[in-house]
Amino acid sequence: MIAYTVRRLLQMVPLLLAASFAIFALLALQPGDPLDEVRMQNPRITAEELQALRRAYGLDDPIHVRYAKWLTRVLQGDLGYSRTYGVAAAEYIFEQRLPKTLLLSGISLLVALLVAIPVGVFSAVRQYTPADYIVTFLAFVGLSIPNFFLGILLLYLFSVRLPEAIPGFPQFPTGGVPPLLFEEVRQGIVSLWEYLRLWAWHLVLPVIVLSTGSMAEWTRFMRASLLEVLSQDYIRTARAKGLAERVVLYKHALRNALIPIVTLVGLAIPGVMSGAVLTETVFSYPGMGRAIFDALVEKDYNVAMAALAFLALMVALFNLVTDLLYAVVDPRIRYS
């Protein structure tokens, strides 16, 4: 297994190089460059000044030279500087944005799992009963409803309509994150409890929106997976042995039915880190999704490159982790 892991890790190197070059080339092929804005705003700017700026931004080299320069810097641990925000790209992405995204998407993932597995089991065990139909119906609603629409709908209901209509109904924040800095907790200006409580309060609606889709999908998946396992011979054998239905279900069936879920969740984790552009935008939540989107629009190449290359790395890594986890959860799989 160690040899396998090492081999896979080595295979990742050319893969990541290719992926990062592809991303770099795509960014460079985007129409326009960071100087468009300067040109539009200042018609008096001369060709020499433009050339100086172009040189200053390192835009006058061909793509492969720029890529080589970028790669050299990255290998030395320097992801460059965000032209837009004036901070190191690494600080902007890994300190400012990634933790917030991990918080929002991580909680959403957990919530989705914690709901999807029991509901999926419930639905499978009661196949073709009214309860199953209701769950199925809700799952399809959850799958079909677009996030941006659900987001605006929840904001409108919980921040505007319901608090207006029902006196005493708690008004949820209209997006954003708490107007507090963690620094203030450290300095004792705000209590940690208050800080956490405000965070939780701001996360309620976005978590609901973000978890809805995967919750619905995984419920369906769990149901199908369990139903398939329940029709297997060894389950019939277990029942014939006279085992209690609870033991059959949870000990024999569920553990096997969870194996495919591991794949799904493993592949969903890089998605957690990439954030969710639409949900983050609707709730004005400063996460990775918006960071990447803004960086692309504003042609902030260092940030876009750092974030996208990081995501490529995560996808590759979690693919490996998922494969390794198979061996852990499924004793029939052995890597050599």
């Binding site: 539009m40 921040s159 997006g175 107007p179 203030e184 400063p286």
Partner: protein, 615 residues
Amino acid sequence: MRKVGKLAVLGLTALGLALAGPQDNSLVIGASQEPRVLAGDFLSVISNQSIKAEIEQYLYPPFITIDLDGKNVAVLATEVPTVQNGRVRFTDIGGGKRRLEIDLTIRPDARWSDGRPLTTEDVQFYFEVGKAKGMPVLNPDYWQRVNLRVRDARNFTVIFEPAYATDLIGSPIGYAPKHIMGAAWEQVKRQTAALDPARDAQRLNEIYRNFFTQFSTPAYLNQRKMAYSGPFVVQRWVPGSTLELVRNSNFPIEPPGGASRYVQRVTYRFIQNTASLQVAFMGGSLDAISRVGLTFDQARAREFVNRVGRNFDIWFVPGAIWEHIDINQFPNVPQVRDLGLNDKRTRQALLHAINREGFVRTFFQGLQPVSHTWIAPTNPLHNPNVRKYEYNLDRARALLAEMGWRPGPDGILQRTVDGRTVRFEIEWVTTAGNVVRERFQQFVAEDFRKIGIAVRINNAPSAVVFADDFIQRASEGRWTGMFMFAWVSGLAEQGNLFACEFRPTRENNYVGQNVGGWCNPEYDRLREQANLEFDQARRKQLFDRMQEIWAEELPALPLYFRADPLVVRKGLVNYVSAAYSGGNNYPNWWPWAIGWESRGAQKLFDQAKYALPVR
């Protein structure tokens, strides 16, 4: 029940921090854009976003600002320099050009928020940084012409050579906190001493950007070490979410009745998604809107007006954003010759076929006026007595017939050019996804078809059409017909949009805003004259004539001027904007007087004089 109560308490506490309104004499503003940096980036080298300039109105008021009527008013200077008070002097320097000297005196009580006096050292510092070699400033032309002479701690002279008439609009120079940033600048000077702007541009740029950045990021400003000179200082900036400003007790200007009767805390909430911004207004968690907020359509949406209109005033402030259609007139482009786009009659015919009045009435309730020249009616240079092109399809047909166009078999006009038969099919480019512009295209294409003009719509995202290799390349036929977009103009109008020298071509490396390529020697001569003319009345006469020529020739098709929505909670006073307030339609150009009537704030300005209300 207890649970519900607890939740309600939790909800109220949660909102407490961002709670809007007069209860705690604070103000919460919704903006759809967040500044990238603030304060330390005083030359806007890192960012020149409009939201940054807006917020800095609270933090660093200028020596001279522009009021609601477009007039200069003194803020941190003792008085507005004029020829009459001897503070403005001209000297002829030959070639019809002049040198301009402007004397300014800093208010004796002007102080930084840490209590240090604001002096000419801070002006000198600003000047020195702007003049540094290879500084990537956005307005190199200003920095080439400007000079500074310091007389004592409070008196200085700003010199322009050659001077333009627009140099007298607003503050001629800025300032920056030398006692905070000076030491770092000395280090920058040492680092850059041996660098050559031609060879080491990248290194220079990097050093300069680092210098500005270290004093302008949220992390730095949250340490509260920065000095401000305005009525407010930065208290806390949560990136991606909110920015909180609190009153600066060292600010010298007292609003009537004392500062305690006015807003003590200003919170900006950054809500990028404008639909979410609408919801935040409906939910009552905002008091007013930033200049960078809702779109025209959103602020006018019936559901929004009905719900928000109860507690808020919704205004439309006529602005200086000019929607127009540029027309390719480079005669080397085959389509231009075929369609005769470089002949004014074609352009006149196109404008006669556009029902601008009808569009504005139907879609904007008349809140955005039809334009007849490129200068906004809010600008004193505007000439209302120019040739106007009413909607008249017969007139359009007649002009086209004059040009030799006859209806072809498919109903589309055709004529013979160099022995070839050409059809009147014109390309029309605009920014894809801009609903108003796309709607306009459909609205007009219908009428064009009636007079035998086929339209080929070629829209693309703004990043594509505004990229240098598209909009600036009409001379190479990258776009061949009409290009619809908007220009934002200020009070400092120089007529450059239609100057021959600003036609982007290969020769000048595609620089300039005269993207259609119109060139008229008389207009150009008047323009040069006007920019060196300091007598307001004579300057106006020159601009009047320029606009007459323009309206006769139609280098571009004028459509309408946009209006900016302003949403303000009832009872909030002096949060008032006009087209040029604070330089660019800022509602907080007089920020120390923003307040709630119920807390004793006195109303000084009346928005009704400068905007149209929506009910």
